[in-house]
Symmetry: C3
Subunit: 341 residues, 3 copies
């Protein structure tokens, strides 16, 4: 395996086209804060599986198109080469590329919308990283969140587009936002909580993503599972909506917070684990609050809660342990912190 | 008195438990930007009085629990000792501890909610102070505001909690948000405007808080009165809702702005007083606008308007007079500015 | 012409009153990022024309009053002289002075509201410029946007004021926000798109503003036209509301973005033009999204979308070409960047 990896790394350094493919694959992995092309490849398989399982192959097409357009836009804007090579300009456009065909109806103009959205995501990534650099942070997936919110809310004002979010604008507390039935089929729910990081509702995809994480970082895989289990059980205890719970919609933000706070930004340990468990609780609360804020607009929270909660958890700069756990993760930390150009 | 104060200061320096109690008492006083344990003790008496007068003793229990949990969380996160000792990690969790039993229904799980909320308030205090330090500011009570908004909005999504804010989500302009009867019983209304800083509806509590301010800073007491009188009369002139007016709800944000801008952050004087009067007007306008924004979500403005208006008033860095008026206040300025760790 | 200009410049340097008038005239021009008193004078003519054509002379009175009060407030707060002289404290209060009589009903108290609003706009300009300086940006017209939003939203809570925005609070997607008839009278629509920068619905005013731009910068005039044409045609293609389209309401934000990104902040050229065209698309999308966000509050987007889009476009710091195109523009760039004190 090491030989294959070394061969690929060398080839992607020499051949610009292979280098671009490598940057795109790493982009797919950087959503879950990993810097590894094999992880990215497995994740694209997971996204493809979910798209075909749910009868929406165009979602996979959107994912690949967003990833390529976003990375190419970064190339055209001559961003920092190292960040580009590590996939740091691919992960947000990839998610925008998944979100547009998921939430807008299928028509040719949707693809123009998607391409413009992926380009905008890269510009917003550069802009927000410049802002967050002030506090030693990066924008994480917030460029995707902001751009997709804008795209969906703009679609309300255009006759040519229809938003399909399974929700209609209403006041918080109206409708059946709480209660509902949950079938207690817990393990698939936990795995769907992981697949929903990529807006995918499939326990098989969730399982493939866990494997993709294991390829690069055992700690990241472990904390991903801790995140989805913790947030889902807490949501269940407090009486959240059963249908959303079943789809894994209370897990995915906590998955990202747990990976970031528990495995990537700090060296895993007892204190860090305690802080991460608190972070999972915080993420769920922020998610529920954001869902209330967005109820009158009927748009989804996306990964906004992960971004907000993780900024709040990292800003106090509690350096629980200065040394990351192993080399691959260390590399990821550096590259993630170097998001900016 | 000086002897007693000196004795207490010495004791709290030597004995860690007395030191913790001292930090908590100062925390109760730092809501109104004072660094004095006696002021804090009197304020806790005022909160207790209001809680029992209104038949809600659990609100006083929540206040003490929030204060203790928030300060203890800061201790566990090993924050800057000086800031901790001055009560700068107690005042926001204290307010969160008052808000949770005030706005959520009474059930055992509410206390878990309160403890998690007080812990989150301390993390958010550290996070927002790191952000505001960039512009030489602190987050004031905004960590309480943000955390409590999140707690209340999240409660909408949980079957196990019910929000009790005397309001239901509606569009601005609907309902009876303007007009209403006001009984012209002005002096108690002004005093309730001061007690509402601690979410307390009691003119007796307001009077005790004025005495608590006098103990530490005559200027602060004076500007607190100017703030509640000015904002209440302006709201009355412009035709604001009579019922809210009567409860002192248009006074408390201006009280805090007036203390901060008129007595603590600048040396009191003619120009500063003119700027403070303008600041009282600005605070009322921001409060009314924020009330409109929050109408569809049916959550209260809390002390958000004070924070927003005071940031806007302090950011221009108009140093009207460089020297604070006396030693105690100078100390408070330094400690308030040093919120960060 | 040069002789007259030189004579005026000399006079305004010597005579404080003429200097104040000069600062006010430049303030009227700085809305469209020009530093030229003649441009400002022509723009005031355009605003007056629109006000009388639409039977609302008090709107012109409000414009002049806002401009004078805002600039005088800056003088009283002893801001940086150079910025003051370049009109950088006049342009936002001018717009607030137009917005208040446009959106509130006509009664004596409205004028007090306007004066307080113009003063607040200057304080907010100082505050936000202090914040944006961190990233090498200025607040542009956002102080006007923020203050006017606060004034309009506060008016909902006061019996004495009535908001007249031709809209009532509703959920996005309700009402006739899309479709509607458009009479394909394109050229007047494009010109109204330019006049709407000053909240004015008149193609004659739009034409005068184009002339006012030509007096100072051909590139600014060209990009203003490109902005209104581009955004209006895109809105038409995507099926935006016909009535708003006809009034030029989809043009004015893009006009400002195109001037800022295409002509003032970068040296005009092929790459910059491509980036500006993308910026026009981005501005329209942000405008539509913001319109959706504000639908439940029934307040207008004002020039918020221009500010947000232009910050996002400038933050990545893509210096397409380091040298501004000619001296006048260079001067404007410097003065705009030096907004802060």
């Amino acid at each position: 395996m090491t030989g294959v990896t070394r061969g690929w790394d060398g080839l992607s350094g020499r051949n610009p086209l292979v280098g671009f493919v490598d940057a795109c694959l790493r982009g797919a992995a950087q959503v879950v804060l990993q810097n590894n092309p094999l992880t990215g490849l497995l994740i694209l398989v997971a996204v493809a599986w979910g798209a075909f399982e749910n009868g929406q192959p165009r979602v996979f097409g959107g994912a690949v198109l967003g990833l390529v357009v976003g990375t190419a836009t970064a190339l055209a804007l001559r961003v920092d080469r190292t960040s580009l090579r590590q996939g740091l300009f691919g992960f947000s456009p990839l998610l925008t590329g998944i979100a547009v065909p998921t939430f807008l109806d299928d028509r040719p103009l949707m693809w123009l919308y998607l391409v413009l959205g992926a380009m905008a995501t890269t510009v917003v990534t550069l802009a927000l990283n410049a802002v967050f650099k002030t506090w030693g942070l990066t924008a994480f997936t917030f460029p995707f969140v902001l751009t997709t919110w804008v795209l969906l809310m703009a679609a309300y004002q255009f006759d040519r587009f229809t938003v399909l979010t399974n929700a209609k604008p209403m006041f918080p507390g109206e409708g059946t936002s709480t209660g509902g039935s949950f079938d207690w089929d817990l393990v698939p729910t936990f795995l769907r909580g992981i697949s929903q990081v990529y807006l995918t509702n499939s326990w098989v995809s969730g399982l493939i993503i866990v494997v993709a994480l294991l390829v690069n970082s055992r700690w990241s895989a472990l904390f991903a599972v801790v995140g989805t289990v913790g947030a889902t059980l807490l949501a269940l205890w407090f009486g959240a909506d059963g249908a959303s719970l079943d789809k894994g919609l209370y897990g995915f933000n906590a998955v990202l917070t747990a990976i970031a706070v528990g495995a990537v930004m700090h060296r895993p340990g007892a204190l860090v684990t305690a802080y991460t468990l608190f972070g999972i609780v915080l993420t769920l609360f922020v998610q529920m609050a954001l869902a209330t804020v967005l109820t009158p607009l009927a748009i989804p929270v996306l990964t906004g809660p992960f971004n907000i909660a993780t900024w709040l958890l990292l800003l106090p700069k509690r350096h629980f342990a200065p040394v990351p756990n192993h080399e691959r993760v260390k590399e990821t930390v550096v590259s993630t912190v170097k998001h900016t150009v």
